[in-house]
C-alpha cells in the first residue's frame, strides 16, 4: 500500500549549459533558454510505502511528512530561481528531470516510511517521475 501527497511550489529556471555553444543551447532548449529565465507552478507528488501502523491507521503521519517535505524541498525551492539559488543546479541543468532526481535525493532519507516515487508536474501537460530502485542517483552532470 502506498500513500501519496501533493505539494506546490513556484520557481523559475533557465535551461542552458556551458557545455554547448549559444547556438546549440538555442537549438536544444529553444525559448526555455531565454537568458532571463521563466517560471512554473510546479506540483510535487510524493509517494511513500510501508506497513500501516495499527495504532494510528497510517503509513506515515502527515504531521511528520508535511514538515519534512516543507523543510527539504518547498522552503529551498519555492519562489526561487533554481539555477542560482539551489546549489545543485549550478552544476546541472534545471530540467524537470533533474529537479525530480534532486527532490528524490532530498526526500529519500524520510525516516518513517520508504520513499517510493516522486512525480513532478512542470505544467498540467508535462510530468516527470522517478521511482525507488530505478537509477535515481546517477545524476548526469550537464
Amino acid at each position: 500500500m502506498s500513500l501519496s501527497r501533493r505539494y506546490h511550489f513556484a520557481a523559475s529556471h533557465r535551461l542552458h549549459t556551458a557545455k554547448l555553444s549559444e547556438e546549440e543551447n538555442k537549438r536544444v532548449y529553444g525559448k526555455c533558454s531565454n537568458p532571463y529565465g521563466h517560471g512554473h507552478n510546479y506540483v510535487l507528488e510524493v509517494t511513500v510505502t510501508g506497513p500501516v501502523d495499527p495504532a494510528t491507521g497510517m503509513i506515515a503521519n502527515l504531521a511528520e511528512l508535511d514538515p519534512f517535505v516543507q523543510r527539504e524541498v518547498i522552503e529551498p525551492f519555492d519562489q526561487r530561481f533554481l539555477n542560482e539559488e539551489v546549489a545543485e543546479f549550478r552544476e546541472q541543468v534545471a530540467t524537470t528531470e533533474n529537479v525530480c532526481r534532486e527532490i528524490f535525493r532530498r526526500l529519500k532519507s524520510f525516516p518513517l516510511a520508504r520513499l517510493e516515487r516522486v512525480r513532478v508536474e512542470e505544467t498540467s501537460k508535462n510530468s516527470f517521475e522517478i521511482e525507488a530502485d530505478v537509477d535515481a542517483f546517477d545524476v548526469v552532470r550537464a
Binding site: M1, S2, R5, T47, T49, T56
Partner: protein
C-alpha cells in the same frame, strides 16, 4: 492486458481517535483530525480492473456490472455515513484513508468475476491519496 478504471465519489464523516492513547497523545498524533465531533470529505475512488478483452464483447468486464458492484459495496455502505460509527467493516479501526482503502479492496476483490482487481486508489482530497495494488500489500 488492458486496465480499465471507473471513478465514483462519496461523502462521509470521520475522526481519528485511538482509545488506547491518552487525550494528549490522541491530540498530538492526530491533531485536528481528533476533533470528536468529526469532519468530512468528498472521497474520490478510482477502481482499476485488469484483464484481456473478451473476444466476443470486446470488454474486460461490463462497466454496468462494475457500476452495480460499486454502488452496492461502497456507495450504500459509505456514502453520507459516519465512518467511525456506521460501517461495520471499519469497526475497531481508525478510518484513515489507508484503512478505508484496504476495506474497499477486501469488499471488491471477491466480487470481480471478469478480469482482476488491479488497483484501488482512494482520494481523501485532491492532495492526498492511497493506492492498494495487487501484489503490493493489499493485505498489509
Amino acid at each position: 492486458m488492458i486496465r480499465i478504471t471507473r471513478k465514483i465519489e462519496f461523502s462521509a464523516a470521520h475522526f481519528y481517535h485511538n482509545p488506547n492513547f491518552s487525550v494528549e497523545e490522541n491530540r498530538r498524533v492526530f491533531g485536528k483530525c481528533n476533533n470528536p465531533h468529526g469532519h468530512g470529505h468528498n472521497y474520490v475512488l478510482e477502481v482499476t480492473i485488469a484483464g484481456e478483452p473478451d473476444p466476443t464483447t470486446g470488454m474486460v468486464l461490463d462497466l454496468k456490472e462494475l457500476k452495480v458492484i460499486l454502488q452496492t459495496e461502497v456507495m450504500e455502505r459509505m456514502d453520507h455515513r459516519h465512518l467511525n460509527y456506521e460501517v461495520p467493516e471499519l469497526a475497531g479501526q481508525i478510518p484513515t484513508c489507508e484503512n478505508i482503502a484496504a476495506v474497499i479492496w477486501k469488499l471488491l476483490e471477491p466480487k470481480i468475476k471478469s478480469g482482476k482487481l488491479d488497483r484501488v486508489r482512494l482520494y481523501e482530497s485532491p492532495e492526498l491519496f492511497v493506492d492498494v495494488s495487487a501484489g503490493n500489500g493489499a493485505r498489509a
